[in-house]
Amino acid sequence: MRGGRPTRMVRQFAAAAALSIALAAPVGAQNGALHGAMPMDQQLARIDQLLPQRDPKDPPRGVDPVIFALFIPPDNQMTPARVALGKKLYFDPRLSADGTVACATCHDVSRGFTNQRPVSEGIRDQLGRRNAPTTMNTFVLQTLFLDGRAPSLEEQAKLPILNPVEMGQPDGQAVTKAIANDPDYQQRFQEAYGRLPNYDDIGRAIACFERTLVFLNSPFDRFLAGERDAISPQAQQGFVLFNGKARCVSCHQLNPSNPLGSDNHFHNIGVAARHQDFEALATKALGLLRQNDGLKAIDKLALGTDMSELGRFMVTKNRSDIGGFRTSQLRNIGITAPYMHDGSMQTLWDVMDHYNKGGEANPYLDGGIEPLALSEDEIDAVVALMFSFTDDRFGDQNQMSFDKQHATAQTQRPFRDNALAMRQTLPFEQRVTEPAQPRKLEQPQ
């Protein structure tokens, strides 16, 4: 289905051609690598290999049943019919305005359930502003999106479909219309929810499917279970550092009830501060907040400017949330590069350099971010640990990613600053003593 408005003759012709091809081909069998994603039919074959056959009502292995049940809304209990429906929808590009983008385009089964790009590309090749989080293991996230604006998977699934740069549909009815006439969908919706296709149920079904995307079977898990040589001695040393000197566990909490490595809180670690207008926007937003209709004014301002960098603040309008983004999960982090909310870090070594020097000083920096004084060996150990968080099913990909990142890290470490890391210079000191210097560089996307 094409919803865009062609502006030139050539585009009109191409549009017509594409339309005929799209209509001719059956759903889920589009050829070509649209927006860089693996074709949907191949992804579907892959997912069947990856996911074990089991009753979706049961909690995944190793997950506390009490915790698992807590995240499932009462009106969306897991059933095989709902999971199957959600799976079909997840891989269906018809949900987008021009029929080229499905959830699986940016959350691609072959690319770590993300797209391994700094920011995502949607319809008409438009680029967004944020890195796509992985859809693996989302079943215990307390909020969705990097700024936590969706309280549940059900709500989250519905939003990218309506986002003008992602899937570009004008409203829920248009989405429903795109698939309502398909008899297969009609039957599946009836089986799953006992009603005709509707937008809310689309969100629910996708959420059910996403709850089955559990990838917690990694060497690290076997190490925790008692297999002492499941991870290398270097990675074991990394685990000691993770819990100790490197302080990772303060925010990247790992425990049996919450195995993801995220505390579900929002922290400004200074990545947004690297964008040139971050502080000016923050000051402006705070100024607006003091006024009577400040909340509305901020929303209005957000549409016109790049206030996306203010992160959680745009959701809560709390000063303490400026530039804050949700702590990412660490599971499968080896294969979900690039990193950070804007995808500005290519390798995990870059991530370590960023934390080691105490992030990027800005007035809203989270208090837990401090220079860590980690040595090169210690950094390598923590990185080794992080690569051990990847599920065995992606072992090959993980190794390739490690090799690639390792090679890159040998030659480029753009975020490294030893003086800051070893606490010889202090963050904020430069800002105070050398205010005239341009403080930040725009990171290339």
């Binding site: 819990n243 100790g244 000197k245 302080r247 566990v249 303060s250 909490q253 790992l254 425990n255 919450n258 505390d263």
Partner: protein, 220 residues
């Protein structure tokens, strides 16, 4: 002489001497100082000559002399008193109602000396804990931060709420786990082994300061 006897002797002697000495002199001119010396001929303090020779003043002078003497005699085991002079330490439970109770071979008959021994030994560990708590050096910190800087008199340590799950530690924390975290991060030292004498002393002191608070494990 035991420490207690030494203290008592010196104080009594000093008071007597001072009162005698000052009583026997005619009034000196204002502005003159009298030097009062202990019988070790080393410990001295200076007293204005026109200060009235009351028992109260005599005791103050004796106390000042005692302080000095203790400081220059560190082996004297006066550390307990010194620590208690600096920092409030909650006393352990009073077991004196037990005196005379008990029978047979197991408990025997509980005596005053038993009660005193229990009290003294318990207090010693708690007082040692107080001294570790207040000392960045003994904690092994590298940034000259001691526990009392954030927890004066062990305030806000709430030992009655442990064990509790602490996500930032990745596990259920006991008091010693939290102490170790604090030693590693705010104090920037090395974590202590669980049976390290300092760890035992710290736990003792912190728990002692919350005597009487209801246990409420798991409270956040």
């Amino acid at each position: 002489m035991t420490r207690l006897t030494a203290c008592a002797a010196i104080t009594a002697l000093a008071v007597a001497l001072i009162v005698a000495a000052l009583a026997g002199r005619h009034r000196a001119a204002a502005g003159e100082n009298i030097e009062v010396k202990l019988c070790d001929n080393q410990t001295t303090t200076s007293v204005p000559a026109d200060q009235p020779a009351t028992r109260e003043n005599g005791e103050k002078i004796a106390k000042a002399l005692m302080d000095q003497w203790k400081r220059s005699n560190p082996d004297s085991k006066a550390w307990v008193e010194e620590e208690r002079a600096k920092h409030t330490i909650v006393n352990p439970a009073d077991n004196s109602p037990l005196i005379g109770r008990g029978q047979g071979a197991v408990y025997g008959q509980i005596t005053t000396q038993d009660v005193a021994t229990w009290r003294e030994e318990t207090l010693k560990l708690v007082v040692d804990g107080s001294s570790v708590f207040h000392s960045a050096d003994r904690l092994g910190g590298t940034i000259a931060v001691s526990c009392d800087m954030c927890h004066p008199d062990a305030a806000n340590t709430h030992p009655e709420t442990y064990p509790k799950f602490q996500p930032q530690l990745g596990r259920v924390a006991l008091l010693r786990d939290m102490i170790n975290w604090c030693i590693e991060h705010p104090v920037r030292g090395q974590q202590l082994a669980p049976d390290d004498e300092r760890m035992r002393a710290l736990e003792a002191y912190i728990t002692a300061q919350r005597k009487g608070t209801q246990l409420n494990y798991g409270k956040r």
